[in-house]
């Protein structure tokens, strides 16, 4: 049934929201543009001097022209390293190469010589996790100076640090998901294993090299003097050592060879999910800007969002009269059948039970689930505790964690407290998680948290006999609030890679379409769960 929109597009409220959110989207696009293309002149000149292409030009050559590229975490590290490592120093995303869906990981040699910062590695590990979960072949464009040594304690030893890259590569290989690496710069030390662990690799003469220790390190260690080409150049590895497979004269030729390699990969058998002819939403997606209120505390009807994302704005709502603070139902996105769970207020006992029930339905039918988050948490208070709100929330978490069907989460607006978990937050293995620019995320709301923290400070001082004027209390509270706001923003979230990237709301439908399509490479198991506390 088509959703009947109740939105008044001529209202003052709509216009004010529209202007506000449109401006946020414009700011987002400006930041994205900057992270993608703006580099200090000296770095661009260095690339030219080294006879190397800029990473975005490499991607243009690699991808099939006119096909979409779902770039992930474009604004990773935007709040770290003084903002000097745009995109965390690499590019990841799902694109089409020789007619095949692949995950692409490309080092960005124009950012600190492609050095791996802790967030660079986090972004690569995440890209490879996505490749494993969705059975996507990987194309690596290698051009990295190696780990950023001053930060080695934050990137080397732990479970999800650099070692995880190579572990993930080995797991991909073990599961029969092929990888091709193109060596476009020096792959030194750990970086040397990326091409070595790929089933196929191509290396460019003169600029490409693979070695565990570069010439200066070799000289220091053994006194042996050796050139880059003699130590680990294209001819050494393709003729003598067998570490690399295909020599190439130029980057262009290397990319052409890699495209031809990908063309040999078998096309995957996609999961059979009911699919109908795609149809655009009946309501204009640009009206999404007018729906999201300027103030995060103001409630809005998530059906209005659904109506501007799904095919024909058609939505089969499940239990429309029960647990109404959670909207559940079936729809199609780019023709793919999906189940949608969307917050329309705080989670009560009934809405939590409805969620757990609906998730079981989706698993029973083998239908991917889309979570649209705008959640302040589970209801608190004596009445709700007596009715077992924690127990019912636990059921929801049990269902979401135990789900076998692909889950995709969109952080539409707020994401606070345990509601984040029940609605498939980052920890719950959503295949993809995207955020909108005005999204806020934290264990509790910024103002509540600032009040609690300020209160503790005031009491401490009172114990030492000090009383504070309202101005002094405000002086304590304001910086806490400011820092809390910064850390709850979508930009901080995406900087830390708590998501797979920010979306302009109007692009949500396309991103979901690509994400669902990618998720269908992996078979879905029969539903089975842990113990639901009844």
């Amino acid at each position: 049934m088509r959703i009947e929109s109740r939105l008044d597009v001529h209202s003052e409220e709509f216009r004010a929201n529209f202007a506000h959110n449109k401006a946020l989207a414009a700011e987002f696009h400006a930041r994205q543009q900057k992270a993608r293309f703006e580099r200090p002149a000296r770095d661009i000149e260095r690339l030219k001097r080294q006879n190397k292409l800029f990473v975005r030009d490499r991607l243009d050559l690699l991808l099939d022209p006119g096909t979409p590229f779902l770039e992930l975490s474009t604004l990773a590290a935007n709040q770290s390293y003084d903002g000097e490592v745009p995109g965390a120093g690499n590019v990841t995303g799902i694109g089409i190469v020789a007619g095949r869906e692949v995950m692409i990981h490309a080092d960005d040699g124009s950012v600190k010589g492609g050095a791996w910062y802790p967030l660079t590695i986090k972004k690569m590990v995440r890209a490879l996790d996505i490749a494993i979960e969705n059975r996507l072949p990987v194309v690596h464009l290698c051009d990295s100076a190696g780990g950023f040594l001053p930060a080695q304690a934050d990137l080397f030893a732990d479970k999800y640090y650099a070692g995880r890259l190579f572990r993930n590569q080995a797991i991909l290989s073990k599961r029969g998901i092929p990888q091709v690496a193109i060596v476009l710069g020096h792959c030194t030390a750990g970086g040397a294993y990326i091409p070595a662990l790929s089933e196929y690799n191509v290396i460019v003469r003169k600029t490409g090299a693979i070695f565990l220790g570069g010439p200066p390190l070799v000289k220091a260690a053994t006194g042996e003097e050796v050139t880059v080409e003699e130590l680990g150049g294209a001819d050494v590895h393709t003729r003598i050592s067998g570490t690399a497979d295909y020599p190439a004269d130029t980057e262009q030729q290397a990319i052409a060879i890699a495209r031809d390699i990908v063309a040999q990969f078998p096309k995957p058998q996609k999961l059979k999910l009911e699919r109908i002819a795609p149809e655009p939403p009946y309501y204009d997606p640009s009206e999404l800007y007018g729906i999201i209120p300027r103030d995060i505390k103001v409630q809005f009807d998530m059906r209005e969002v659904i109506a501007r994302v799904v095919d024909g704005s058609r939505f089969h709502e499940y239990q429309p009269a029960y647990g109404t603070t959670l909207v559940c139902g079936f729809a199609h996105i780019w023709g793919y059948h999906v189940g949608i769970l969307a917050n329309n207020g705080v989670l009560f006992n009934d809405s939590s039970l409805k969620a757990a029930h609906f998730m079981q339905l989706c698993n029973q039918h083998g239908v991917p689930m889309i979570f649209l988050q705008n959640i302040t948490g589970y209801m608190v208070g004596r009445e709700y505790e007596h009715r077992g709100i924690t127990k019912d929330g636990a059921k929801m978490i049990m269902a979401v964690a135990g789900s076998e069907v692909p889950k995709i989460t969109v952080m539409v607006n707020g994401s606070f407290g345990a509601g984040n978990y029940g609605m498939s937050g980052r920890a719950f293995d959503s295949r993809f998680l995207f955020t909108w620019p005005q999204h806020q995320i934290s264990v509790m709301g910024a103002e509540q948290a600032a009040n609690v923290l300020a209160e503790i400070k005031v009491r401490q001082l009172e114990r030492h006999g000090q009383t504070l004027t309202p101005e002094e209390i405000a002086a304590i509270r304001e910086p806490i609030l400011e820092e809390y706001r910064r850390q709850s923003s979508a930009y901080y979230s995406t900087s830390e890679i708590w998501d797979d990237g920010i979306l302009d709301p109007v692009d949500t439908r396309n991103a979901l379409g690509m994400a669902i399509c990618a998720s269908l490479n992996t078979p879905i198991d029969r539903p089975h769960y842990g113990v639901f506390r009844m």
Binding site: L61, P65, G66, K206, D235, Q253, I255, A256
Partner: protein, 166 residues
């Protein structure tokens, strides 16, 4: 990466993309809807709003197209070969012996221009004669061996003058 074709000595980078149930030709910054109807004999080619009868014959990498009483020949440029040829980078300047053996005949001499695939030296090893061929177009700088000489594996046989940039 777009497909490359050569027409009248000029290269064109084009791509065919499928969208909304039809094909579009990407060329330069423009995009034209295209269609080819009919099978064998006379086909009808549509580009933008114009539909014309067309005859096409494919001969290896050459495509002969007859439109409006004129026959033109397009050549498909294989990207792997194309981008290597443009590089100017050398495959390797020094041609090494693949195995130990004896020189049957040194065919080229210093200063001589050679094309890719030309025989430089003929060697004999393990009762087999092997022709050592030039890996690229170039000019012979040095011939390290003479007829009857024996050599070890990886001994230099011929050095080509370094390739100049494209």
């Amino acid at each position: 990466m777009r497909h490359l074709f050569k027409l009248d000595n000029q290269e064109h980078a084009v791509w065919l993309t499928w969208r909304d149930g039809r094909y579009f030709l990407l060329i330069g910054d423009s995009e034209q809807p295209v269609a080819l109807e009919g099978a064998g004999g006379r086909d009808r080619l549509t580009v933008g709003n114009v539909t014309v009868p067309v005859l096409a014959a494919v001969d290896g990498d050459d495509i002969h197209i007859h439109v409006d009483g004129i026959t033109r020949t397009l050549r498909y440029l294989d990207p792997i070969r194309h981008y290597a040829a443009h590089s100017g980078a050398s495959v390797d300047d020094v041609i090494l012996a693949p195995m130990p053996g004896t020189v049957v005949q040194a065919i080229v001499s210093p200063g001589q221009a050679v094309a890719r695939g030309d025989t430089l030296v003929v060697i004999e090893s393990m009762k087999l004669e092997t022709a050592i061929k030039s890996p690229r177009d170039g000019v012979v700088e040095t011939v390290h061996v003479s007829t009857g000489m024996t050599f070890d594996r990886s001994a230099p046989l011929v050095t080509l003058a370094p390739a100049t940039g494209a």
